[in-house]
Symmetry: D2
Subunit: 353 residues, 4 copies
C-alpha cells in the first residue's frame, strides 16, 4: 500500500515520513508540501538523503495516488482533504485538531476560532487514542472510509496517566486534577520564532499559556469519556524545557480514600488496565518515568506515586511528543484501521540518549 | 573585613568566593577545603585564575583570620565551626541544613539522620530568609555573634511565592498547596554521579524524590511561620531539567474565595507585600517568570496567574539556585548582619543567556 | 542465530543490544556484565523495559550459548574471550582497541600500555572498517572463526573523509593533514567523572589530549593502508561539545595541485569512490555535513570544500559515534561475516532531533 | 557621564546596556531601537526589569544627550551617526564592521557589499583591539572625537592567539595558519531563523561558511599588522555548537623551527607578550582553554600546545563572544578613550556554569 502525507515538511509530517519509510506494510510514499512544492523531500530534510527520494507534489496528487492519507497541517485547513478521501473511500488520519472534537463544533470553535466547513464529516470521525477508542477505530474502518482525529501531544500523556484512576473510581468526587507538563522545544513546530530561538530557550525553563492552552478542552473531554461519574475539573500548566523531544506530565489526583496500604493495589490496577496495550509501560513501584526512557519510541511510560499523606495519587507519564504524541500514534491508528500488527513500523527501542 | 569560606571548593562555596571577591566591603578571603587542602583555589577553579589567588587552608585558620565565616559543607559537620565562631564573637553563616531548623532537632534528625552536637547553638540561630526574618537577623547580629541557617534552594523559591497568599489569608482553609519545581543540574553539587552524568540527564526531564525531598519539612515550617491560621499541607515534587542553573516553581494555591474580578487586587497585594524588598520582583500581570530572567543574579521573580475557574492561585517563581538559592542569599544575610547596603556585592543584572 | 554481548552494560554494549534486538537475523541475545552480573539488563537500562528481557550472566555463558560474540569491554581484557571464540569456531567482534593493531604489538603497547597475551590471535584479526577491509573481512569469515577489531570512533570519521584523497593521490607530498574533531559526551562512556559531569561540560567547548589521543596511531595506520606513497603526517585535535552523540571532523588536506576548476572533479572522485557503500553519503557540493543529519543512524556523511585559494581540500565528516562509530559498525561487520544483507538491522533513518 | 547605545535591543546592544549599567563612571543610559522605539527597554529584556528603566528613543536623541555613543547596528547603517558624533565632538564606538577596515574601502565593499558614504570618517577611525592598538586608541581620543571600529568576535579570539607567534617570528615563512573556531549560538544574533531554531541546532555541531566568512579578511588584516614579514595565509573554518555563548578557536601555526626543548621558551614568550594585559590570561603549560572558563567575562584565555613532532604550534583561545567578542571589548575601548581604569565595569569573574 502507498501512504500519502499532506504537509510532509513540518516536524510532525517529517517524522511520519521517517516512520512510514520503515513500515513493513507500506511500499511507497507520496508527499505534499505547500511551502516546498516542486522540491524534493530530501532537500528539505537532508538527514533523510538517499532514503526518501520523493518529490513534493500537490495535496490532490497525494489523495489520488495513496491508499491512506495522513495530514500534518495547521489547524483548520484539512477538511477538504478529508472530504476527498471519504469520497475516494480511503482512510484519512489528521494530526491537526480539526477532527478531535467530533460534532462538538462549539468547543472547537471556541478554542481554535474556526467553524466546521463540512459538519457531517465530523460525525463519523473518531478520536484516535487507541487506548480509549480502539474498538471504535476498528469498527469505523470496517465501514470503509475512516476519519481519525489524531490526539494532541499533551492530551495523550495526560489521558493515559489519569484514565485508570477515573475508570476505577479512585479520584475523589469533585476533585480538581492538576496536570503539570514539561515539553521539549520540537512541540513548537518547525517555524522559527523568538520563543524557540536557541539563546532564548536554551538553559531555561518557563511555563506558558497557564491553564489556557488549547489542549485543555481536549484533556477534559477525554477525562469525561473515561468516567461514568461527573468529569473532574482540571488545571493544566504546560512548560517549555531545553530538550529536543519529550513531554513529561506530573499529575495530582486527589484520592477518594487514602492509599495507605493500598499502593500495591492501585499499582496493580494500573498494570492490569494496560496489560494488553502494546505501547503503555506501567513502571514498577519505585521507578520514576523520564523522557529519556521513551526517546524516539512510541511508548508512554507511567509511574505512580503518592504524596506523604497518601491522600493524593501522583502519576508521572513520559512520551516522545513526536512519536506517541504525534506521528507514531498516527501510524498506530493506521495499523488498527488497516488490520496490520499494531506494532508494525513502531518497534523502535527507546534511546537513553 | 576579611571573609572566610569553609568548604570553598564545592559549587556553593565557589559561588560564594566569586561573589565575595567582588564585594565592596570585603577586602580579603580566607578559604578552606578538605579535599584540596594545600592546593590553590584557582587550580581547582581555573575560571577564576588571576582573580582568586588564595591557598586552601584548614578550617581553623579560616576562623582564626576572618571577621565573618561562611560554611558550605555537607550537612551535619558544621557545628564545631559554628561554636568556634560564636566563641570568637564573629558571625557564622551556614549554607547546609544544620541550622535551618532552630531548636526543632526532631525534624532535623528525622530528615537528615543526625543529632545536634551542641543544642544550645541552635537556640540562637536564625533562619536566614531575609524576606521572612530580616528583623530577627538584624537583632541577632546586634547581640554580637550570630549563627545563620541559610535557606535551601527549593524552600527559597517556594516560600517567596506563597508567603503573600498566606500572610493575607488568601488560601482556602485546609488547602493543600502543590509545589511543582524544576531545578538545573548544578543543584546536585560538584560530585560526579550517574544522575548528573551528561548523557544521562541532557535532553531529558524527570521528577525525583516525589514528595519526599528533604526540603519539604523546611518549606512546611516556613509556611507555618507566615500564617496565624493552621499551616497548609503541601505536596512537593522536584524535577531535574537539562540546564546549568535555576529553579522554577509552579505552585497551586486553592483560594478561599474565587478571584473573579480580583486578580488585580491579588496582584497588588503581592506587589505591596514585596515593595521594599531589594531582590524580589513581582512581574506585571500577564508576564510569566522564567529561569533565564534571573540567571546569575540574586533576584526571585514572581508571576501570578489563575486557573480558568479562578478558584486557584497559580504562582510561578524563578531563582538562580546558586545565587538567591545559596551563595547570593548568604551574602545578603552578611550584608544585613554587618549593616552593609543589602545590595552590596549583589548588583548582578540577570543574563538572558 | 543467537548473538552474545560481553560487557553489555556500557554505552557501546547497550547500543549493540538495542540494534541487535531489532536485527532480522538475530533471534536471541545473551548478555554479560561484570558490574551487574545477576541483575536483568532492563533494570540497568529501563529505557529498554519490556524489550530486552535478559539476565546478565557470565562471559563464559555468553560464549557457550551464542553463535557470534561481541565484546564491548575496557581495553586489554578481551583476549581470553577471543581465544575461546576461536576455539569454539565462532566470530568475535571486539569493540575495544585490543585487535585494531594486528601484529603491531609495539604500537598497541606504546599507546595502551598492555602486551599481547596471545600474539597469534592478532595475526588473524582484521581491522573492521568495511570501506577499507570488506574483502579481508569476508575472506576471514570464510575460513571459519574470525576476530574483528572494530574501529575507534574518531578513526572511523577521519579515515572515511581522507581515504579518497589518499587513494587518488590528491594530497601534496609530505603533507600534514590536520584533523580537528568534535565529539559528543557519550564518547566518554558511562562512568561518571568530573569531565562529563553536566555542569562542567554543558554549554562549553574545549579540546583535550591535543595530538596525543590514542586514536592518533590508529588514524595514521589507516591512512598508511590507503596510500601507496608515504603516509601523510597528521595532527589530531579532539574536542568535547555539549551534545549527547555525534562526531564532526573537519580535515585539512593540502592538495598536490590547486583545485581551481577541479572542484567538481574531486567531488565526482569522492562520489565514485563510495558509490557502492551502503553507509557513506557524499553530500552534493555546497552542502555541509552536520551531526544532526546522521543522528541515530549508521551513516557517515561527507562534504567536501576548499579554502579560498583552493590549495587545500577541506573535508567534513559526521557520524553518530555510538552507531557508525561503535555498535552499528560492529553489526555491519557481523553482516559481512555472516553473509547477511549488509544493511540488515541498520536501516535507521537519521533523526534531525 | 551618560552613555548612549544606538541599537540597544539586539544581543550585543543589550549586553552593552547590561555592562554599562554597572559601570562606575557611567551615570545614565540613553537607548535607541528602531524595532522597539517608544517601548521601554525592560519590556524587551524583562530580565533587566527594575534595573534599566529607560525608554527607547530615536538615535538622534541618543547622540544629543550622551557623552559617548555606542552603536550596535547591522553593517552599513552607522556612518551618519558616526558623523554626527564627530561633529558633536564625542567618541563613537561602532560594534558593526563599518569602521573595522579603515580606509580600505575595497575590502569592506568586497565582503559587506557596501560603499563608504563618508570616506573621510574612516581615515581617522581606529580598529579597537586594545592589545594591538592601545596607543593609537589613546592618541585618537586625545585629539577629541574618536571613531572606534570594535573588532568582530572571531577575529578577537584568533588574533590574540596568533599575535605573539607573529610578532616574535615563530611562524614558518609562507606558512598557512589554520583557524578552526566553534561559536555559541548567540553569535547569530537575536533574529529568529531556521539555523538558530532550537531543534535544528541543539545537540549538533556543524561548520558553516567554510573559509568564506566575513571575518576572514579582518583576521588576515590583523595578522598582517602584527608582522614585519609577509602576512601568513590563513584558512578559517567557523563552526556552530549548541551553547549560548563562547568562541573556542584552535589554531595551527607551522613553526619556523621545531619547538623541541623550546616549549617553555615559547610559553614564556606568550606570557611575556601579554604580561601587562588586563584581559588576556596565558594559561600554564599543560592547561587547556575552554569556553566555560571565560563565561560572562571579558577574558581571553590562551593555552599553547604542540603537535607530537613539535613542528606546529597549536594555540587554543577562548572568549565570551558577547563580552570580549563584542560588548565588553567596546567598554574596554571606552575606558581607554576616556582615561578610565581599563578594568572599570569589566571586573566580572568568569562563571564556570
Amino acid at each position: 500500500m502507498k501512504a500519502g502525507v499532506i504537509g510532509a515538511t513540518g516536524y510532525a509530517g517529517a517524522e511520519l515520513v521517517r516512520i512510514l519509510a520503515g513500515h513493513p506494510e507500506i511500499d511507497g510514499l507520496i508527499l505534499s508540501s505547500v511551502s516546498f512544492e516542486g522540491e524534493h523531500f530530501e532537500d528539505v530534510y537532508p538527514n533523510m538523503l538517499e532514503r526518501i527520494c520523493a518529490p513534493l507534489v500537490k495535496a490532490e496528487e497525494v489523495i489520488s495516488a495513496a491508499g491512506i492519507v495522513f495530514a500534518a497541517l495547521p489547524h483548520g485547513v484539512g477538511e477538504p482533504y478529508a472530504k476527498a478521501c471519504v469520497e475516494k473511500g480511503i482512510p484519512f488520519i489528521d494530526l491537526s485538531a480539526d477532527f478531535r472534537f467530533g460534532d462538538d463544533e462549539i468547543t472547537f470553535n471556541a478554542w481554535y476560532g474556526k467553524s466546521y466547513q463540512y459538519p457531517e464529516l465530523h460525525k463519523n470521525a473518531v478520536y484516535g487514542l487507541p487506548e480509549l477508542n480502539r474498538n471504535r477505530i476498528r469498527e469505523l474502518a470496517a465501514g470503509g472510509a475512516a476519519i481519525i482525529g489524531n490526539p494532541g501531544c499533551y492530551p495523550t500523556g495526560a489521558s493515559l496517566g489519569v484514565f485508570p484512576a477515573l475508570a476505577k473510581g479512585l479520584a475523589a468526587a469533585s476533585a480538581t486534577i492538576i496536570i503539570d507538563s514539561v515539553s521539549g522545544i520540537s512541540g513548537g513546530g518547525r517555524e522559527p520564532s523568538r520563543s524557540f530561538h536557541y539563546p532564548e530557550c536554551a538553559d531555561s525553563v518557563t511555563p506558558y499559556k497557564i491553564d489556557s492552552h488549547r489542549h485543555r478542552p481536549e484533556i477534559m473531554r477525554n477525562f469525561a469519556a473515561m468516567t461514568a461519574a461527573a468529569a473532574p475539573e482540571i488545571i493544566f500548566t504546560p512548560h517549555l524545557a531545553p530538550m529536543n523531544r519529550g513531554i513529561l506530565s506530573t499529575m495530582y489526583i486527589p484520592l477518594a480514600a487514602p492509599a495507605r496500604d493500598h499502593a500495591a493495589t492501585i499499582h496493580a490496577l494500573y498494570t492490569d488496565f494496560y496489560h494488553a496495550e502494546p505501547f503503555v509501560r506501567v513502571l514498577p513501584l519505585g521507578a520514576i518515568a523520564a523522557t529519556n526512557r521513551v526517546r524516539q519510541s512510541n511508548y508512554c511510560d507511567i509511574s505512580i506515586h503518592f504524596d506523604h499523606r497518601e491522600s493524593t495519587l501522583i502519576v508521572v507519564t513520559a512520551i516522545d511528543n513526536m512519536v506517541k504524541g504525534a506521528a507514531g500514534q498516527a501510524v498506530q491508528n493506521m495499523n488498527i484501521i488497516c488490520g496490520f500488527n499494531e506494532r508494525a513500523g513502531l518497534e523502535m527501542i527507546p534511546a537513553l540518549f
